[in-house]
Symmetry: C2
Subunit: 213 residues, 2 copies
């Protein structure tokens, strides 16, 4: 499964994917191109350092969302992309783009969806006063963080937390879980029944599947 | 802290409180009366079996919510109640009732609020396809399951779960956490800063507080 990572910023989730691939943990997934909608971001440096094509498709250079997405789709087609990982990608995608990769676009979100969708999820969680928040990897649909959920991990809110400290601990879980989801997707182990997503075990043990879920 | 438990049904959370009190784990909290808004429910039998006053204030016997709550408040006053635990109590309380016990009414809800408020939280979680749900103990305000959150625990959704199986595992967490919250409330260890609820450690170790949170 040839996949692209779409980024907008520092690219720590991209780095987790690059590191996992370097350890041979993503196969049969293969990261073939990194695309940023903003020029000169750190994520592009990370991609180049790992020897990956690193491309900018600047959304500001296009008249509208449709033109931007067409340019994006063209770059992905050039690289033979079959699946897309959004890793801190800050543009909402339209049904046109999403329809080009049915159940092959995943996003990681720093909250236990459906709680705290949208931006600043860690700040939202702190403001609401929850004791547990976490992260979710989900299929992307036309809503904001509303697609079927593939994997979730809980992260405890600690008494002295500010949004930055909480965000760091959430990201540590994202870095651990996102590569495992990409591998499972590539291996054909992920299936949807309506909104319920099932992950078949990698080996013989059902316990492994539970752990991944 | 003399507290009442309000119930509507089988009373498994009430039983957890009775058992914890029997083991000496609730002091300085003391359960002084159990009130049901429905007659002949199992929770009332549980209360009587533990030697507690078990009273029915049937909401259907009153012309409206206000009259019902006045009768309820009268029973609580007769028993010198200082705090109220809602344990499967299926009536929404008005600001009048809530105002009588400021930051002294807690509810347990079978989901990780703010996700899945209202009825059938386990069914809602399954229908949404989350991988993690859980339970929340929170202060009661005039909304439905919207008050400041005191404690939360995560419960994993398993591949073969139906709502009943998931609900049972969530309830097991409720039975463990609710008595600890009641003890902490009685001991004056729970404070609110806006929506953020802090629980001071019972002993010297901050780790204990983290665990309770």
């Amino acid at each position: 499964m040839r996949f692209a990572v779409l980024v907008s910023g520092s690219g720590t989730n991209l780095q987790a994917l690059l590191d996992a691939e370097g350890r041979g943990e993503l196969a049969p997934a293969r990261l073939v191109v990194v695309v940023s909608n903003r020029p000169d971001v750190r994520a592009l440096d990370r991609a180049r350092a790992a020897g990956k094509p690193a491309i900018t498709v600047d959304h500001k250079a296009f008249a509208g969302r449709e033109a931007f997405e067409r340019a994006l789709l063209a770059e992905l087609a050039i690289h033979g992309v079959e699946a897309v990982v959004l890793a801190g990608f800050m543009r909402v995608l339209t049904a046109t783009f999403i329809g080009a990769f049915p159940q092959r676009i995943v996003n990681t979100h720093p909250a236990l969806l459906p709680a705290f969708p949208g931006t600043d999820a860690a700040g939202q969680a702190l403001a609401h006063g929850v004791k547990l928040t976490g992260m979710s990897v989900h299929f992307v649909d036309a809503g904001v963080d509303t697609g079927p959920i593939i994997a979730q991990r809980a992260v405890r809110v600690l008494p002295g937390d500010d949004a930055a400290a909480l965000q760091r601990r959430i990201q540590a879980e994202e870095h651990r879980v996102l590569p495992r989801v990409v591998q499972a997707l590539a291996a054909g182990r992920i299936t949807c029944e309506g909104r319920r997503v099932l992950i078949a075990p990698a080996g013989a043990s059902l316990d492994d599947a539970d752990e991944l879920l």
